[in-house]
Each structure stands twice: as C-alpha cells, then as structure tokens.
Amino acid sequence: MTATLAPGQLSNKRKKNAGGPSITILAGIVIISLVSLQGVGLDAFSTGNLYLILNYLALPLLIGMFASFSLLAGVVDLSIGSMVGLSAAVFAVLATYELNLWLCAFLAVLTCMFFGCLNGIAIVGFNANPIAVTLGMLVALRGLARVVNKYDNSETLSSTDGTVIFIDGLNSFTEASFSFLPWLFVIALAFTLLLQLIISKTRYGRHIKAVGGDLTAAVRAGLPASRIKFTSLLISSGGAGIAGVLFVGKMGSSSSTLGTGMEFTVYAALMIGGYSILRGGVGNPIGGFLGLFVIAYFSNYIDNMGFDTRFADVFLGTLLLVIVYLDIRRGGEEFE
C-alpha cells in the first residue's frame, strides 16, 4: 500500500494540525447535545441518562483501550469483535460444567490470546496484510463461537443461539455503581488514564509509537519492531477476552451475536479520537475515550427518540468516511 510513497515524502505533505481531533469531538458533543435538547428535552442531561450512556460505554472503552496498542503499532486487529464473542462463549460453556470460575475466565482469555498469537504469526512472521488476516480471523472466530455455544450443558434452552448462565458474583460486580457512575466505567476510565501515562511518558510507549510511525527508522534505531507488533496483537486479543467474560456477567448469557460489529464501533470511535487504522504512531487514549463518548451519546439519542437502530449503522459508516477524510486533511496518507 505504501509502495508509491517514499518515507520522506510524507513529512513534506504534512499540513498544520488545526486543533486536531479535539475540535471535531467538541463540535460533535455540542451538536448532539443541542439536537437531543430539542428532541428529548432536559431529561437528556439527567444523571439517570448519563448512567445509561456510561454503562453502555464501559466495556467498549476497555476493549478499545487494549486494541489501541495494536493501532499505535500500525497493525489493525479487526478480529476483536469476534474475540469478545468467542471468549464469552468459552467462558459461559465452561461455567455450565461447574468448573472454578477463575479457571474458566483464565481459559477464555487464553483462547483469545492463542488466536491473537496466530494473527501475530501471520502478520509479523509472514508479513501478511493485517486487514486481510484479521478479517479472516473475524469470520473464523465468529464461526467458532457458534460451534462452542452449541456444547453447553444446559437443558433448559435451545442451545444454538447462545448459552444461558447467570453468575451472581460476576453480575453484581459488573452492575455495581456509585451513584450515576458504573464501577466498570470507573475502572475503564482509570485504565485509560494509566494508558495515557504509559504511552506518553514511558520508554515502552514511545517505542510502540516509533514502530507504528516509521517502521524503517525504528528498525534502524535498533528497536525490536517485530516483538513490539506481536505483543500489541496479544494485548488487543487479551483485552477482548477479558471484556467477553465481563459481558457474560453483565448479560447472564453468551449470545452468538455478541460482539458482531463491535470492532467497527470501537475503531470508528478511536479514529474520531485521532487514531488511524492505516498508519500507526498517532492518537492518544484520552482522544479515543472522547471519540467513544460521542458515539455512545449518539446511540443514546437514537434510543431515546425511539428511532430505528439500523440508522446507527448508516451513520457510523458515513462517519467513518468523513473522519478518514479529515485525517487525510490533517496529514494522513493519501491513496495515490
């Protein structure tokens, strides 16, 4: 893809970053606020509604933050949505066999990391196109999740559509909240801030950015580029695994459609926040959080107005194109 551009050519084309994504995000929040004030009324700003938004936001935020490692390293992982579904299926099915829950969760996350490892071998080892590889993984794991869901132990429900398992302790953990702040959201936000520190202040963070930003330069500077890319893929798959387990706690089941399209939402959000799925080394976690907030806010508006949720797909698809165009305007890579 990058064959037509010499490495030095990019920096000449880079234009002034006019305020970066923060302006776009702020404008987005203001517009949605005005629209929902007109449509929903003052209820849109109540703490109850805020709780709904944050509750919806918590797990995608966690997934997005783990996945942002691979975006920064320049290897996009499209299979995270399917990994969430697979991890939920493995965890729920193992739990129906009444194994130790910690062991179940560990095995579920391990399964995801195994497939993350396969992604790594194909992308780093064989130098294959990350989008094509992880697209294949997306479909493969979606199928595998359906297969796994079939092997649950329950006799109460038709097992083709998912596995029903209500885990008391896990559910009360995932649903706990402090006034209008869901704990899960607080944890995810704390993780976001921690990540912000890691990315901007530590050597490891700067290494990831260097590998994603200019691979040739990073390799010449002696950075272990392959290892960094590989680890970032493992981290993103592990994060999706953890989120899958938490989803089971939240919903009391692993539906076979869980995680479908989630990669799209998460990456669209991260791209609003300044990340790019075609070049690494750009973006920061707080921007990603704000991007996700815009999307959660908009979905909340659609829910409150009782609109057809399918409009959200159309909106997201269009939004993605607009965002990438803006990314090009502020110095992103042009096609030809």
Binding site: A132, V139, L141
Partner: protein, 272 residues
C-alpha cells in the same frame, strides 16, 4: 458455486488493478436482487428489468470510486464504510424481497441448458471473456499495468483515475449480475445474507494467486480456486464435522492464503 464464481471475478478485477479489495460487493449483490423483485412487481418485462437493476447496482461502485479518486481515501476504508452504511440502508429500504416463483428469474435457477444448470453459464462465459479481455485487449493490459506499477503506468500516460473508476464500477456491475443469480436461487432475499459471500470471494481471489499488491493473477486459476472452495462444505461432512464449522475453516484458509501470498512476494522482492 456460480454466485461465488461471478462475484470473485468482480473482486479479482479490483485486486488486479491495485484497488486492494472491495469489501462492499455484498451491497450491489443484494441491491440488484431487491430491485429486480421491485421492478417485477411493477410489471416490467424481463430484459429491461434485468438491465436496469444491474446498471443501478453500478451506482455503489461509482460512490466507492468517488471517495477513492476524488477524496483520495484508501479503498479498504472506503468499501468498509460503504459496505456497512449500504448494508444498513438496504435493511431500511427493503426489509426482505420475495422472488415470485412464477417469474423468469426463479425459473432460471431451476432450469438446465446444455446438460448443466443454466446458472452455470454466466460464470463460465464471464471467466472466459474476462480472461481474454485482460490478456489480449489494450484496456485489459492497462488494468494489469495500473495494478503492477501505478507510477510507471501514470508516467506512460495511463489515467489512474479513469481506471480506478472503471474497475470499481465494473466490479459492482459484476456483483449485480451475481445478484440476479442469487435471486434465482433465493425465494426470500434478506439484506443481511449478502455479507456471507464477502470472505469466501476474497479467499478465492487470494487462493488463485492474485497478489493483493496488484498486477498479478490468472482468471482460469480463479475458476479452479472457486471450485476448490465450494468443496469445503462437502469436505466437512466427509470428516464428520457439522456445517457450523464452515466459517471457521473459510477464515483459516484465507489467513493461510494471505500469509503464503505475503511470503511469496517477500521472496520475489529479495530476489529482484
């Protein structure tokens, strides 16, 4: 096999011309089917109905081309976005489309000509035609040139933009033709069913030896690789696995194919 075979030709043209991949081909596929049903219910006769619905599905390709050529967005992102948005729009516009069993299209799906199902012939004819077109005609060879080395192609006076627009438009049209065959086999078209084809057609193209970098590939090999992929469901039954496993193996085949493709390109690069 015949739906996948036609779709793969459209995808292969995009890959060959260096357009990376078209992830939105499921949209023209379904759009044509739905439009054909709509026009049939309005009482249109067969030929104008087919031509109109196939040509209208080309709009998707033109939209893709606009984003790629005018706004210079990477085709992968463009088609990911239009595929997602288009899928949503199709769901809103057509909840489902029922193909009338009396119509010509439904009859086409069950009829036989020259000893094989009629639906086979579009695939065979398109494969032969495109093979000859790409190999021996001037525009065909230019498609390969644009894919193989865009800089050299541009320097020698070929308009990259024109070929981008043409290939993405053509891919949509071909997907539209596949949509007609799809409608012939599907009594009830649901917009979500089109996405099932996205992965197998990419797998077929990569497996046939088309380089994702563009400029290399053979359409007769594509025909064989589509045939190979169509044996996967049968092979699963042979090994005693349920059809639920099918997507899993399709995904793995794609990953292996892409990895081998990358390995091969790496080798040629170091050699040259």
């Amino acid at each position: 096999m015949c739906i996948l075979g036609v779709l793969a030709i459209g995808q292969a043209i995009v890959v060959l011309s260096g357009g990376i991949l078209d992830l939105s081909l499921a949209v023209p596929l379904i759009l044509t089917g739905c439009l054909a049903v709509l026009f049939y219910d309005r009482g249109w006769s067969t030929l104008p109905l087919l031509i109109a619905s196939v040509l209208l599905s080309g709009i998707v390709g033109l939209i893709n081309a606009f984003f790629i050529v005018a706004l210079k967005i990477n085709p992968l992102i463009v088609t990911l976005g239009t595929g997602f948005a288009g899928g949503g729009l199709l769901l809103i516009l057509f909840d489902r489309a029922m193909v009338n069993p009396e119509s010509w299209i439904a009859g086409f799906g069950t009829s036989y000509s020259f000893g094989v199902p009629s639906a086979w012939w579009p695939m065979v004819l398109f494969t032969i035609f495109i093979h000859i077109f790409i190999k021996y005609s001037r525009p065909g060879r230019r498609v390969v040139a644009v894919g193989g080395n865009p800089v050299a192609a541009k320097v020698s006076g070929i308009s990259l933009k024109r070929y981008r627009v043409a290939t993405f438009f053509f891919a949509s049209i071909i997907a539209g033709v596949a949509g007609v065959i799809f409608a012939a086999f599907t009594p009830e078209i649901r917009p979500s069913s089109g996405t099932l084809y996205t992965l197998p057609m990419i797998a077929a193209v990569v497996l046939a030896g088309f380089s994702l970098a563009g400029g290399a590939g053979n359409f007769l090999a594509l025909f064989i690789s589509v045939g190979f992929l169509s044996t996967v469901p049968t092979a699963l039954v042979f090994f005693g696995l349920e059809s639920l496993w099918e997507p899993f193996f399709q995904g793995l085949i794609l990953i292996v194919a892409v990895s081998l493709d990358a390995l091969r390109t790496k080798k040629t690069v170091t050699k040259g």
